[in-house]
Amino acid sequence: MAQMNMIEAIRSAHDVMMEKDPTVVVLGEDVGYFGGVFRCTDGLQRKYGDHRVIDAPIAEGGIIAAAIGMGVNGLRPVAEIQFADYIYPGFDQIVSELARLRYRSSGEFFSPVTIRTPSGGGIRGGQTHSQSPEALFAHVSGIKVVMPSNPYDAKGLLISAIESDDPVVFFEPKRIYNGPFDGDPEKPGVSWASHPKGEVPEGYYTVPLGSAEVVLPGEELTIVTYGTLVHVAIAAAKETGIDCEVIDVRTMSPLDVKTLADSVKKTGRCMIAHEATRFGGYGAELAATLQKECFYQLEAPIGRVGGWDTPYPHAFEWQYFPGLKRLSAGIRRMMEAE
């Protein structure tokens, strides 16, 4: 066991897999010699050479297409898209190709590509370094969509993603790369050192794709969330004193409906929280599914707290971010509903 932040955990997942499986290759913008703008691939090129950790031209569509071709030819590529905001030039290759290869060739061809990309705001990145586009991928059948909320899961899920024969889009909530964040920007930053999920085995292990986790047990209200907001949810539970059950979705697609529904049936109340723009966001799917599954147990309408339906404004990051205040107010109000 070692103390790792999320960057180190992600790096370690690469390292473990590259060591274990010579077909694993890494490509992306600045991932090689430099080790990535967030340092997630630091040291890998020195260790595995520049034929396995490849600096790519700035062309997200090209990176994903090349990864697809490599995957078809027996490699297991891990592609980094520098920011999730820059994944759209590769959208066609993901949606029309990567996601459908297996289906359209009835299983003869597939490409086990993992696409890693930092997402979310809270780092003063402005509207083009803060987006959370997971909903745009969760709607696409044929790919799996993952977002870890801590170092332990990040490593375990990334190893599962790399090992998966299905393509995976792996979002990394960059706000918590270096430490958990409870959604109050006034407080000083904390590190992963004191967090139990900052304890990470150095070797190989997996966290399975497709399983949500109850990260805080509770009886009164369920908060369903993922990524950075997991920590905000725990803080909101503390702050409000409401006995919340907090569930970390971890895999957006395929969704572990049972874990979520069991909790909501138990508590009778559900608040969904994510950073992305609310309208048409992934929270809509969660709410639609859970109102259906838990209709007869629900004591109040399912709520959603999310980013506003605007781009992520640089100066109003903390007004946009669904932080502690907004989430706490939301669950307080929900408890008032009879």
């Binding site: 078809v72 490699l75 060739s105 009835s106 044929g142 024969d165």
Partner: protein, 413 residues
């Protein structure tokens, strides 16, 4: 206000009602373009992208440095594959017209591309074709009946009913699955070739797009990645003059040949008579050798003509002269190879006629066979429950429950 417009709008030389006019096509006489050494520097062989590599001349004689000197047997085999492609296309076109399949796309007039390049590549080389490369699938061993079953979406359909007709694949033959999305396969081929190089193998990749598709982003991605990593890949542009209703000038072919598109990245380009099996074979072999020896990518433009409508959904009489193909200066690839063989004394009209009949009957037999696995109206039918398979490697719970739901007589949920 728009009357003052200064915008250049590319317009084809002829529209319906006009005389066909191919004066825009720059031609070189057969045998006139030098064949450089495989190791030549790109900058020394730029001429290959503006000339037109041709072997067969107007009298059907093979000429010049690019003559691959194939023997009679090889040429007859090539002719046979081209004829088979055409016979298949003919039949399937009619079959679609009779409403017995939903859609079809011919390669009429472009058969030499798939066959010549199929011959020049090795079995371990991987092909990423477009929807007009059916000849490649045939050449690489896909049976007529399997092609037909794909078009029928029947119980023997290699795609399990999931793809439109003509969207074949062949893992065994190393021919990739066809995408409905133009050009997406081009940079994938480059990635495949990069992997081959990374693994230290000497397999190369080849891919095909149309003239119109060169405008897509993926064309650029392919060229960039191929150039940067010197990937062992052959990137083919099949310039058949038309992209549905727009002529090749709409894709930027008016000022410079498509073969020149990679020059700015240091990728050599060869402009080839796409209706001359010998020239295509020879240029492809040159590019394949170059790639295999570490010389990197080559862009090959195959100058040809789309002899038929774009697809069974198209009506070209709306946008081009009816008789354009007959006036196309590079003729019909099949006819040209046939005449060449006859001139060599290795073929005859009688043999040709006989072989054609044979192939037509093979196709007919295959069609009979194919129908045994089901037609659009008669069983056996594919099991709809299979539509939930292969979305993922293993079926997730939500798809399992949707499959159950569908089987409960298509109930809503």
């Amino acid at each position: 206000m728009i009357t003052k417009s200064r915008l250049h709008i590319p317009r084809p030389t002829a529209r319906p009602g006009d005389e066909p006019d191919f004066s825009y096509l720059e031609l070189s006489p057969a045998g006139s373009v030098d064949k450089p050494a495989i190791g030549s520097r790109t900058r020394d062989i730029e001429y290959l992208s503006s000339g037109l590599v041709r072997v067969l001349d107007d009298d059907f004689e093979a000429k010049g440095p690019w003559d691959p000197n194939l023997d009679a047997k090889q040429l007859q085999v090539a002719l046979r594959w081209m004829m088979l492609t055409r016979a298949l296309d003919d039949r399937m076109w009619q079959i679609q017209r009779q409403g017995r399949i939903s859609f079809y796309m011919q390669s009429l007039g472009e058969e030499a591309v798939s066959i010549a390049q199929g011959m020049a590549l090795r079995p371990g080389d991987m092909c990423f074709p477009s929807y007009r490369n059916q000849g490649l699938y045939l050449y690489r061993g896909v049976k007529l009946v399997d092609m037909m079953c794909q078009c029928l979406s029947n119980t023997r359909d290699m795609c399990k009913g999931r793809q439109l007709p003509v969207m074949y694949h062949s893992k065994a033959g190393n021919v990739f699955t066809i995408s409905g999305n133009l050009a997406t396969q081009f940079p994938q081929a480059v990635g495949w070739a990069m992997a081959s190089a990374i693994k230290g193998e000497d397999h190369i990749a080849a891919s095909w797009v149309g003239d119109g598709s060169t405008a897509e982003a993926d064309f650029h991605h392919a060229l960039t990645f191929a150039a940067v990593y010197q990937a062992p890949v052959i990137l083919n542009v099949v310039n058949n003059q038309w992209a549905i209703s727009t002529f090749q000038g709409t894709a930027g072919g008016q000022r410079r040949a498509f073969a020149a598109r990679g020059l700015g990245l240091g990728i050599p380009g060869i402009r080839v008579d796409g209706n001359d099996l010998l020239a295509i074979y020879s240029a492809t072999l040159w590019a394949a050798d170059r790639a295999r020896r570490g010389g990197g990518p080559t862009l090959i433009e195959l100058v040809t003509y789309r002899g038929g409508p774009h697809s069974t959904s198209d009506d070209p009489s709306k946008y081009r002269p009816k008789d354009e193909w007959e006036s196309f200066p590079l003729g019909d690839p099949l006819e040209r190879l046939k005449q060449h063989l006859i001139i060599r004394g290795d073929w005859s009209e009688e043999k040709h006629e006989k072989l054609w009949k044979q192939l037509v009957s093979d196709v007919q037999l295959a069609w009979k066979e194919a129908q045994k696995s089901g037609t659009m109206t008669e069983g056996p039918f594919l099991d709809p429950a299979t539509m939930f398979e292969d979305v993922y490697a293993e079926m997730p719970a939500n798809l399992e429950s949707q499959r159950r739901r569908m089987l409960e007589v298509l109930g809503g949920e």
